[in-house]
Amino acid sequence: MIAKKGLQYTENHEWLKQEGRMVRIGITDFAQEKLGDVVFVELPAVDDQVTKEDPFTVVESVKAVSDVFSPVSGVIVAINETLEDSPELINEDPYDQGWIVEVEPIDEFSFEGLMSPEEYQAYIEEE
C-alpha cells in the first residue's frame, strides 16, 4: 500500500490532485486493494454538478460496491472514459491511468480537511 507523493487524501480513500483550476480525483491504492478486482465504474456525465461529501460515482468489484465521494463541490469537466472498457486500470494504476473525474470547483479550492501522503499513510495503518 502506497500513498503517492504530491497528492491529497480523504478519509473515504479518495485522492485529489490540483491541476490549475481543476481537481483530478481517483481512489487510493488502499481502496482498490480492499475492493479487489474492479469490474465496472458507473461514470457520471460531464457537466454534472457534484457536491462536497456526496457520492458521485460507484466503483464495483466482483462482490463489492463502493461509492466514491466528492471532496469538493463543483462541476465535472472531464471523465476517464477508458475506464468504461478497462476498469482494471483502477487496480493497476490507481493514481495515474486509473483517475476517475476532473472537477472544476465552485469556490476557491482549499486543502482544508484533507490529508498529506504521510498523514494518509498513518491513517490507513490505523484502520
Binding site: 469490474v39 465496472f40 464495483e60 466482483v62 462482490k63 463489492a64 460496491v65
Partner: protein, 451 residues
C-alpha cells in the same frame, strides 16, 4: 416416516461428544418460558403408502385436464409436453442443488441457465435475458420498476386490456413505492389499444407503456405503432408476450421493445393450478442490462482457459447492495427455466413454428364454429390462440353444465369487468383435436339463444 439417519444410540454418542447428556440440553439457550409445552397440533405421521393413499384421495376430489377437455386460457395454457422433460428434470443433480454459488461444481445448472438466457434473448429479439423471475406478473412489475429507475419518471402506463391479475400485481408493487399506474383504455369494439385517441403529452410523463401481446382478450396489438407513440415521449416500451406466439408474431426486439417479459408456463411446465411457472425478463442496451433484476449467468474461463459459467454482475443484487439492490429477488424459478430450455430445444425452430401455427389454426376453427352457432365476436382485433365471444347466456351456469359433459368451457369475464358480463374468453392449443373442438362447439352452440 423419517429421513434421519442417525440412530438414538448415535445421537447419544454425539451429544456426549459435545459434552451434553440429553437432547433438551441442545436448546438450553431458549428461555424455558418460550419452549412449547405440548406437541404441535398437527395430524399424526403417515407411512409412505398411507400418505400416497391420502394424497390420491385429495387429488381425486379435483377434476383434472386428463379427464376434462379444457378451453381455458387467460395466462395458463394446456400445451403438449414431451415425456422426456420430466425424466431429465427430475435428475437429482438438478432437482436437489441450490442456487449455483460454487461455480466449479455447478456447471450443469449454470450452463443450462446460460442456454435459457440465450434462448429467451433469441425468442424475444433482445440482447440479454436474466436467469428467471417468479412468474410473468412479477416480471412485469419488476420491468415497470426498472423503467422508472432508468427514466427517473414515476408513472407507468398499464393498458386496461392487460391481464387483470398482472395489473393487480403491478399495482401492489408500484403504489407502495409511490409510482402511479396510469390505466390506458382500449377500444371497446376492437379490444386493442388505440394510440390515435391518446394524448401525446402523456407519453412524456410515462416511464414506460406496457403492451400485452396478444392482450388479455386474445387480440394482437399494433405493437409497432404503440412503440413509436411511447418513444416519441422518450418513454420505454415494455412488451409482455406469450412465448409460443413468437413462432408466428413479430419479435418484440423487432418492433423496438426496451424490456420484454412473459410467463414461461407454456414452455413445457405443467399447469399445476397456476404455479410454479417461470417468468422471463429480457432487455437490450448496457444501461438497462446493468439494471436488470435477479440472477444473471455469464461466460468466462478458468486458469487453463477452459470455458465455464458463473453468476455475474452480482453487485446489482440484494446480497451485495442490500437496500440499494435493483430487486429483492433471490430464489427464482430455476427448475422451471430448465424445463423451458429443454422444451424450446426439443421443439427447435420448426417445432415452435408448428405449435404456434396449430394454436392459431385451431383457434380460428373454433371461433368460426361458434360464430356460426350464433355467438358474436366480442372484439374484432385479430387473434392468435385466444378469443372472446359474447352471447345472451349465463356463462357461470353454462360452464357448470359443460363441466358435467366433460368440458372446461372458458373464462366468464364478468368477474373482471361488469360490462363484459356477456363475454367468455376461450383458448385453443395444439393439444385440442378437431374431434374435441367439434363436440365442444356443438354443445356450447346449443346454449346460444341466437341459434
Amino acid at each position: 416416516m423419517s429421513y434421519i439417519p442417525n440412530t438414538q444410540q448415535e445421537q447419544m454418542q454425539m451429544l456426549k461428544a459435545c459434552g451434553l447428556s440429553e437432547i433438551d440440553d441442545l436448546f438450553s439457550q431458549i428461555p424455558t418460558t418460550l419452549k412449547l409445552k405440548q406437541p404441535l397440533n398437527l395430524p399424526g405421521p403417515l407411512a409412505e403408502a398411507s400418505l400416497i393413499k391420502h394424497m390420491n384421495i385429495l387429488a381425486s376430489k379435483n377434476i383434472n385436464l386428463d379427464t376434462a377437455t379444457s378451453f381455458l386460457g387467460a395466462g395458463a395454457y394446456d400445451h403438449l409436453v414431451p415425456s422426456v422433460i420430466k425424466h431429465l428434470v427430475s435428475r437429482g443433480e438438478f432437482l436437489t442443488a441450490y442456487t449455483p454459488y460454487q461455480a466449479e461444481i455447478s456447471q450443469g445448472v449454470l450452463q443450462s441457465i446460460f442456454e435459457f438466457q440465450t434462448l429467451i434473448a433469441e425468442l424475444t429479439g433482445m440482447e440479454a435475458a436474466n436467469a428467471s423471475m417468479y412468474d410473468g406478473a412479477t416480471a412485469l412489475a419488476e420491468a415497470a420498476l426498472l423503467a422508472c429507475n432508468a427514466t427517473r419518471r414515476r408513472k407507468v402506463g398499464l393498458p386496461a386490456n392487460l391481464h387483470p391479475e398482472w395489473i393487480e400485481v403491478a399495482r401492489t408493487y408500484l403504489e407502495n413505492q409511490d409510482i402511479e399506474p396510469v390505466i390506458i383504455p382500449y377500444q371497446s369494439d376492437s379490444g386493442q389499444i388505440d394510440i390515435a385517441t391518446m394524448d401525446a403529452s402523456l407519453a412524456k410523463e410515462l416511464s414506460c407503456l406496457v403492451v400485452q401481446q396478444p392482450n388479455f382478450f386474445g387480440c394482437i396489438e399494433d405493437a409497432t405503432g404503440i412503440c413509436s407513440w411511447i418513444k416519441n415521449g422518450d418513454g420505454l416500451l415494455v412488451a409482455a408476450v406469450n412465448p409460443i406466439s413468437l413462432g408466428i408474431l413479430k419479435r418484440p426486439g423487432d418492433y423496438g421493445a426496451d424490456i420484454v417479459v412473459g410467463d414461461g408456463g407454456s414452455l413445457g411446465n405443467p399447469l399445476s393450478y397456476g404455479g410454479p411457472t417461470v417468468g422471463f425478463f429480457a432487455t437490450s442496451g448496457t444501461s438497462l442490462i446493468r439494471r436488470m433484476p435477479g440472477r444473471i449467468v455469464g461466460e468466462t474461463i478458468d486458469g487453463e482457459s477452459k470455458r465455464g459459467y458463473v453468476l455475474t454482475m452480482q453487485t446489482r443484487e440484494q446480497h451485495i447492495r442490500r437496500e440499494k439492490a435493483t430487486s429483492n429477488i433471490c430464489t427464482n424459478q430455476a427448475l422451471n427455466a430448465l424445463v423451458a430450455t429443454m422444451y424450446l430445444s426439443l421443439l427447435g425452430k420448426q417445432g415452435l413454428r408448428a405449435v404456434a401455427n396449430q394454436c392459431l389454426q385451431k383457434t380460428a376453427y373454433l371461433q368460426q364454429a361458434l360464430l356460426r352457432a350464433g355467438y358474436q365476436r366480442r372484439f374484432t382485433g385479430p387473434c392468435f390462440n385466444e378469443f372472446t365471444i359474447s352471447g345472451d347466456v349465463d356463462w357461470a351456469k353454462v360452464n357448470h353444465q359443460m363441466l358435467d359433459k366433460g368440458f372446461l368451457a372458458g373464462l366468464p369475464l364478468q368477474q373482471f369487468d361488469k360490462d363484459l358480463s356477456d363475454s367468455l374468453l376461450l383458448a385453443v392449443t395444439e393439444a385440442r383435436t378437431k374431434e374435441e373442438i367439434d363436440e365442444f362447439s356443438g354443445l356450447l352452440g346449443g346454449y346460444c339463444s341466437g341459434s
